[in-house]
């Protein structure tokens, strides 16, 4: 192969540049491609569960509707708001990173972590009330439909909800919101380590806003998943 070689100026590196890259432009673009590729993978991860949800909801519309009445829309709405706010604070953190305002970055990231923790606390109380009512999958799943779902379970004096399908609903509820909660917890860990990097004036973040923006991308993705979960589980229209 008749390739010729070019002597590049290796002595003059940007302080935030990793050894495998030629320049900051290439590094940033590579980060961006890598992160989006990972997010595509995440979409497939949740996608499988959304597919399962779609299939069972299609098959068991009335049962899912009655089962969903027991979820607390208010708490769900509060959590949605909290996550939307956290997305906003994350945007502010990324902008501060672009402007190299170190204190602002740490502040906005801390608020984001605060929102994430609030979300988890609310989620904890939601889960707790479901467990108190025996609405979790297993042999002990609420055996009395009327006790579990009240008047919704009865129509013309007959119990209309199939408790097996209600159990499927709660299986999906815990599966999907649980997987989402795991992503929130991972996100908290990542954001805290990002705050530490900023706190320690680490070269990799203070000279290059892209790593901060990538954490932001992940966080927006996690929020976006919830934006789908909230209506799918909490805001079902009554089937005809």
């Amino acid at each position: 192969m008749s390739a010729i070689t070019e002597s590049l100026d290796h002595g003059h590196h940007d302080p935030g540049l990793h050894h495998q890259f030629e320049d900051m432009g290439q590094q940033s673009e590579t980060y961006i491609v890598g992160m989006w590729t990972f997010l595509v993978s995440e979409v497939m991860f949740f996608g499988a569960l959304f597919l399962i949800y779609t299939l069972y909801r299609w098959n068991y519309q009335l049962d899912f509707y009655i089962a969903h009445e027991h979820l607390d829309v208010k708490l769900g709405a509060i959590n949605t708001t909290v996550l939307l706010i956290s997305s906003f604070t994350m945007v502010m953190a990324v902008q501060s990173a672009q402007l190299k305002k170190r204190l602002n970055v740490m502040l906005w990231l801390a608020v984001t972590v605060g929102c994430a923790c609030t979300f988890l606390v609310v989620k904890f109380f939601e889960y707790k009330s479901k467990f108190a009512d025996n609405l979790y999958p297993g042999a002990g799943f609420a055996d009395d439909a009327v006790k579990a779902f009240g008047k919704h379970a009865i129509e013309n004096g007959h119990v209309v909800v199939n408790m097996n399908h209600a159990q499927l609903f709660y299986g999906l509820y815990f599966g999907l919101t649980g997987l989402h909660a795991v992503h929130i917890i991972v996100g908290i860990g990542i954001i805290i380590s990002l705050i530490r990097l900023w706190f320690n004036n680490a070269k990799t973040v203070i000279h290059d806003y892209v790593p901060t923006e990538m954490v932001g991308l992940y966080w927006h993705f996690v929020d976006l998943v919830w934006i789908f979960l909230f209506p799918l589980f909490y805001l079902m229209p009554q089937p005809h």
């Binding site: 192969m1 050894h19 290439q26 890598g34 990972f38 497939m44 299939l55 999958p137 399908h165 499927l168």
Partner: protein
């Protein structure tokens, strides 16, 4: 890992003192276990996948031994189920899916595109640890009792009835899956953004195209199977009832989700092999590959179509007939890009200056075997014949023709081709050529009788066949073949290891091959290239053939015609 190599003494033409390369730059164990160097991580993968392959082969040997008698020889039914399940789980999840991307992809993508490393070195190391954690959990599962579900883990058997170590093994596969995803992300980012100046998309070696297509499958398919298998674990541990038929769940849904990954996974295993074969055939025919663009895009086409054919594994499930018709049709379409590759490789060899070195013998063996494997796939993609052949040895023979005769021969071809680059040493070429022929014979002797067995009705996963003792001759033939195959796997372990101690120094380009990886020293320095290369010429640009290369080709041709093993 942050060591940089100085230009002093780095020219390959000055061999008087041992050059600093990625192998001898540091010798401590931590310099290996904490390395970010893609070449060292590839070597870690080479060692660990070889170990798991050895375990998987032992299980295969036990299966073949058991089947030499119509009444079974040593194993109870349940033990037999566990043995073939271990064979499948290890070979699929710990060897075939991982091996070529994680070893050769890791090692050669940066070298072929002229980069100093993969895009995310630490992620790359993390992927090896995830793989090892997954592998370890699977091994613990096997030691603690194993699984009897087969590698497919169909529900409701795996979720409700099997009382073996299904959960542990599935968690192991789940964690190992993340190693695949991170590898895929790393490759895609690297190939998109880290190509050297002048390395355009259509100057990429076809191996890189194949790895790119494989990465697409890895990032799109793996998460689906990961979550599906996790749901089975949750059903076993926490009664999360996604696939429970008694609660209105759908166990066949598991099969859909499983094959949505696991059919593309077949292409995850074979596309990297296609990439290697393209390299071997172009370089040992001393010719630009025929229809480069077609070969490149056929990889992408296979990756795309691969996601639309999973239903052909489910013709006898409760799947609707019309679904089956569509899946069958699309399955036949996959044959088109596969055939494009076979024809283009054959045309490349035609009138090429073919050098029958050991890697090329593997490549030619691959062509013959993969053609049989691919064509028998059409029998199984056709709805009518498939109903007759489902769950027989015909299926077993078919996927071993593709996975062993295809991927495994390509793996060995690639290993022989790149061994001098990876280690800097030449192995005994004559023994290697003989071994390639041994592999070819052993392989066909093992698996061709299984086509006949399957056609006659021998079901897979049975450890006895007293109902049809006339099958014994075929089974014994197959077991004999497996013994020859075992020899074919054992020999390279010896002569390749021996080459590390007494092999000749390879020099930068022992094959007179064409490609950036042959422009740097063998083994390459930690930073791969002392200067960033600029690519000025087309890929596989052998024309006009230089006199020196022509001489080499003629000599090799002469010596190979005197060599009786190379008759095919």
């Amino acid at each position: 890992m942050s060591t940089t190599v100085t230009a002093k003494g780095g020219l390959p033409a000055q061999p008087q003192q041992e050059e600093v390369n990625y192998l001898n730059v540091e010798h401590t164990i931590s310099s290996w276990l904490l390395t970010g160097d893609h070449k060292r991580i590839a070597m870690l993968y080479l060692i660990s996948t070889t170990f798991f392959f050895f375990l998987g082969s032992l299980a295969a040997g036990l299966v073949r031994f058991e089947l030499t008698s119509p009444a079974g020889v040593v194993l109870e039914s349940e033990t037999y189920n566990k043995v073939f399940s271990s064979h499948g789980v290890i070979m699929v999840f710990l060897f075939l899916v991982v091996a070529i991307p994680a070893i050769f992809g890791n090692f050669f993508i940066p070298l072929m595109i002229g980069a100093r490393d993969l895009a995310f070195p630490r992620l790359n190391l993390a992927s090896w640890y995830m793989y090892m954690t997954g592998g370890l959990l699977i091994m613990i599962g096997f030691i603690a009792g194993g699984v009897d579900t087969g590698w497919t883990f169909y529900t409701p058997y795996s979720s409700m009835y099997s009382n073996t170590q299904v959960s542990l093994v599935l968690v192991g596969i789940f964690i190992g899956g993340f190693s695949s995803i991170t590898t895929g992300v790393n490759f895609i980012a690297t190939i998109h953004k880290m190509r050297a100046p002048g390395m355009t998309w259509f100057r990429l070696p076809l191996f890189v195209w194949a790895m790119y297509s494989t990465s697409l499958l890895l990032i799109l398919g793996t998460p689906v199977v990961a979550i599906t298998l996790l749901l089975v674990v949750f059903e076993r541990l926490f009664k999360l009832p996604i696939f429970s038929p008694e609660l209105g769940g759908d166990p066949v849904l598991f099969q859909h989700l499983f094959w949505f990954y696991s059919h593309p996974a077949v292409y995850i295993m074979i596309l990297p092999a296609f990439g290697i074969i393209s390299e071997l055939i172009a370089n040992f025919s001393r010719k630009r590959i025929f229809g480069y663009h077609f070969v490149a895009f056929s990889s992408i086409a296979i990756a795309g179509l691969g996601f639309l054919v999973w239903g052909h594994h489910m013709f006898i499930s409760s799947q609707a007939m019309y679904e089956s018709v569509v899946f069958s049709l699309i399955s036949f379409l996959v044959a088109v890009p596969s055939a494009i590759k076979i024809f283009n490789w054959t045309t490349t060899i035609y009138k090429g200056n073919v050098v029958l070195s050991s890697p090329m013998i593997y490549a030619i063996g691959f062509l013959l075997i993969f053609t049989v494997g691919g064509l028998t796939g059409l029998y199984l993609g056709g709805i009518g014949t498939d109903v007759h052949l489902t769950a027989t040895y015909f299926v077993v023979a078919h996927f071993h023709y593709v996975m062993v005769g295809g991927t495994m021969l390509a793996f060995l071809g690639g290993l022989h081709y790149w061994w001098p680059k990876m280690t800097g040493r030449l192995y005994n070429e004559r023994i290697a050529q003989v071994n390639a022929v041994i592999m070819f014979i052993g392989f066909n002797l093992t698996f061709f009788p299984q086509f006949i067995l399957g056609w006659l009705g021998m079901p897979r996963r049975y450890h006895y066949y007293y109902f049809a003792p006339e099958f014994q001759a075929y089974h014994i033939m197959s077991t004999l073949g497996a013994t020859v195959l075992g020899l074919g796997f054992a020999l390279p372990a010896f002569y390749l290891t021996a080459s590390l101690f007494n092999g000749e120094k390879a020099g930068p380009n022992p094959w007179n091959a064409h490609g950036l990886e042959w422009e740097t020293s063998s083994p390459p320095p930690t930073s791969n290239f002392l200067e960033t290369p600029i690519v000025m010429d087309e890929v596989y640009d052998f024309d006009p053939v230089s006199e020196h290369e022509q001489d080499m080709a003629d000599q090799a041709k002469k010596s190979s015609t005197e060599n009786p093993e190379d008759h095919h």
